[in-house]
């Protein structure tokens, strides 16, 4: 795979908006921060020293928050925006150096683009919109029409060819946008947050449709999104972008498993709560049983009243010595209910540190008994109810609580 030349290779790409991009570029290369450059020269560093390469047929996703420079980056690739510095090699040819005619040829046949707000032309029918690229290529009217209808077939909108785009729903409009791009049979598809303006449900459908199309056509796709789930779902590789830079580039799995940056981690916590939420965020006041001091009947009553799955048995030192559940307590009660029966019923307790990730206690939860949370000194500071773990992981509790928990986690 490595011996194949990349389809697209970007290196050292910068885009600086403002009165003195060259000066700002020099400062940035010397390591000046974005904010300082903005206040000193008035220039906005939108894209800063980005390098990456994309294989033919690869689905490359760039994910970042609004304002991180994604749109600027993707527009540099087909020179809707002229980069300040850097190389953009498409099949080995530098787009940044192309003259107007070479650039036009590239846009006509090699690269097509899909836009966030669809950018359909309101004065053209759906069919004429899809024909647009072909018309620019100089394809004659009837062939244009045929090919546009074929492209509309791909997105199942042939029946709408003679209607106005205004008559379509958002999802349908973006499918027209996609058909318009596919109609010219481009090798590279640039997609700037194509599903960003759609409802979540429609977005999922569109993602599926795109995956299906990609399986069939194997285009090289550069896809921009602000939604990490979308990025992980679609991308063969994902780049995380912040403040004009790539913070991390890798396979979706690698991004989730080893976030290289607090920024990525902050994103991934949303993806894998178990990795991000700690025991501390969901632990409760312990309901305890002092060994040797409490009797079985009292313990049963307390367990019942508290609604817990079990009681943690503490020793004189305040550490967690064991745990008893309802089944054990009931058995102990029927066996006589004395202190000996109680200690016989006591099982080993799992102890964890407050900062343990929820993902690491999944297995222990399956016993259905409380897990003791102990601090470094070994004293009990709380318990975790198994049910709470699953609630936290599925994110079903009130959103207020969740926000709190999220804050605590980091």
């Amino acid at each position: 795979m490595t011996d194949v030349a990349p389809k697209l290779e970007v290196s050292g790409l910068y885009k600086i908006f403002g009165p003195s991009p060259e000066r700002a570029l020099a400062r940035r290369r010397e390591g000046g921060s974005k904010d300082r450059i903005l206040s000193e020269t008035g220039d906005v560093v939108a894209v800063s020293d980005i390098s990456f390469s994309v294989r033919e047929g690869e689905f490359f996703v760039v994910m970042g928050l609004s304002g991180s420079g994604k749109s600027t980056l993707i527009r540099c690739l087909n020179r809707l925006i002229d980069p300040t510095a850097g190389r953009i090699l498409v099949d080995g040819e530098d787009v940044a150096q192309m003259d107007a005619e070479a650039l036009r040829q590239l846009r006509l046949s090699k690269m097509a683009m899909v836009f966030q707000h669809f950018a359909l032309f309101p004065h053209r029918t759906v069919g004429e919109n899809v024909e647009f690229g072909l018309k620019m290529q100089g394809v004659d009217r009837s062939e244009r029409r045929d090919r546009a209808l074929e492209a509309l077939d791909l997105v199942e909108l042939r029946a709408w060819a003679d209607r106005s785009p205004a008559a379509l729903s958002g999802g349908m409009r973006q499918r027209v946008g996609l058909a318009r791009a596919l109609a010219v049979d481009p090798q590279i598809l640039l997609m700037d947050e194509p599903f960003g303006a759609l409802d979540p449900l429609i977005r999922r459908d569109m993602q599926e449709e795109l995956i299906t199309l990609q399986r069939r056509f194997k285009k090289t796709i550069i896809f921009i999104t602000h939604d990490l789930h979308e990025a992980l779902r679609l991308g063969d590789r994902v780049a995380i972008m912040r403040d004009g830079r790539f913070v991390q580039v890798g396979a979706p799995q690698a991004i989730v498993d080893h976030p290289e940056d607090p920024y990525v981690a902050a994103f991934t916590q949303d993806v894998d709560r178990g990795r991000v939420f700690t025991v501390e965020t969901i632990m409760r006041e312990p309901e305890t049983l002092v060994s040797g001091a409490d009797d079985v009947d009292g313990a049963l009553r307390r367990l019942h009243d508290s609604g817990r799955s079990g009681l943690v048995v503490t020793g004189a030192d305040g550490g967690a010595n064991g745990v008893v559940g309802l089944a054990e307590l009931s058995a102990a009660a029927s066996a006589g209910g004395d202190a000996g029966a109680l200690s016989a019923a006591t099982q080993d307790v799992t102890t964890v540190a407050p900062e343990t990730a929820l993902a690491d206690i999944y297995d222990q939860c399956t016993a259905g008994l409380p897990i003791a949370v102990v601090d470094k000194a070994g004293s009990l500071c709380g318990v975790v109810e198994p049910l709470d773990v699953f609630t936290a992981l599925t994110g079903n509790e009130g959103s207020e609580d969740r926000k709190d928990a999220g804050r605590l986690a980091r």
């Binding site: 809707l80 683009m113 004065h123 008559a167």
Partner: protein
């Protein structure tokens, strides 16, 4: 001694007079005369044409046009207005005024739309043009009547030139505005699919801005009509002259007659240009052939039905809307 002018009077009037008389007129008179020529050609052609065709033929054609463009209501109103003009005995004056107004609008469009497009594409040009337009719109027409007479003499054509100066700014402004308002993404889409600057202008920007441009044309038309009386001051004929002489002789009847004629023409032209500004979907209909087809066949009502049929949810959507 409480006025500065008691000490010194700035001779602005003298300066302007000598600027116009001693520099502008002797140096540029030929150039200005040359401007007159095309205007004169269009005007005399139109005027002669409108005056020679029989009123009944004109009415028939106008009503048909109005029906195709704007539908039944407008065509009926057009018919009523034209009949009234004829009945009031001001048909010829009306045709002269119409010729004058149309000539002015033609030249406003020929000059104004390109200027508006240039302004939309260049911030510097826009910045330079803006004060000129402000001046054109704020200086009372009476003020530039005098230099116009000095440069062009009196008559219909100088009247039209005054009208053009007065009526052109909104068309330039709205053309500029309309093109600048085309969403950036659509322009980008044009370029992204390999369009040249020219193609982006004519395939994307101008068509999308058309509604706004037509609104500018409508404004220009209305302003031109409002100038016909003032233009009569420097020798323009038609309904304006009727009003003007009516005022001079304190003949309320004659002045009102001219006024009514102007208002009737204004309403008809206003409705027609507004209806023309409604965007039509599809390349076929936008082409000249399409426009011609629209004028001779296929009722405008068909377009509207087409649009409602394009409801995405079909009958279900319509039902939902009713609720």
């Amino acid at each position: 001694m409480d006025r500065l002018s008691d000490i010194y009077v700035l001779p602005v009037d003298d300066w302007i007079e000598s600027f116009v008389k001693d520099w502008l007129v002797p140096n540029f008179r030929p150039a200005f005369q040359a401007i007159q020529w095309p205007i004169d050609q269009v005007l005399t052609g139109l005027d002669a044409f409108l005056l020679t065709i029989p009123p009944f033929l004109f009415m028939a054609v106008a009503v048909l046009l109005a029906w195709r463009i704007g539908g039944r209501g407008i065509s009926l109103f057009t018919l009523a207005a034209l009949v009234l003009l004829d009945l009031m005995g001001i048909w010829d004056d009306s045709m002269t005024t119409l010729a004058m107004v149309l000539t002015s609008v033609v030249f406003c469009a020929v000059v104004g739309v390109p200027l508006g497009i240039l302004a939309a594409r260049s911030d510097r040009f826009q910045t330079g043009l803006r004060p000129v337009l402000d001046i054109m719109q704020t200086i009372p027409a009476f003020v530039y009547l005098v230099p116009i007479v000095m440069l062009f003499g009196v008559g219909m054509v100088p009247g039209i030139i005054a009208t053009i100066i007065f009526a052109m700014p909104p068309l330039i402004r709205l053309t500029n505005l309309g093109i600048r308002q085309v969403p950036e993404e659509m322009v980008e889409a044009g370029y992204a699919f390999g369009a040249t600057r020219r193609q982006v202008l004519f395939e994307v920007q101008v068509p999308i801005a058309m509604k706004t441009i037509m609104a500018g044309l409508n404004q220009t038309l209305m302003l031109s009509l409002s100038m016909v009386v003032i233009a009569a001051l420097i020798g323009a004929e038609g309904l304006g002259l009727l009003v003007f002489t009516g005022i001079g002789r304190l003949d309320v009847g004659a002045a009102a007659l001219g006024g009514i004629g102007i208002v009737l023409i204004a309403i008809v032209l206003d409705r027609l240009t507004q209806a023309l500004g409604e965007p039509s979907l599809g390349e076929e209909k936008r082409s000249f052939r399409g426009l011609a087809m629209r004028l001779v066949g296929g009722s405008p009502a068909a377009d509207k039905a087409d649009e409602s049929a394009a409801d995405p949810a079909g009958p279900a959507g319509a039902a939902a809307k009713r609720n």
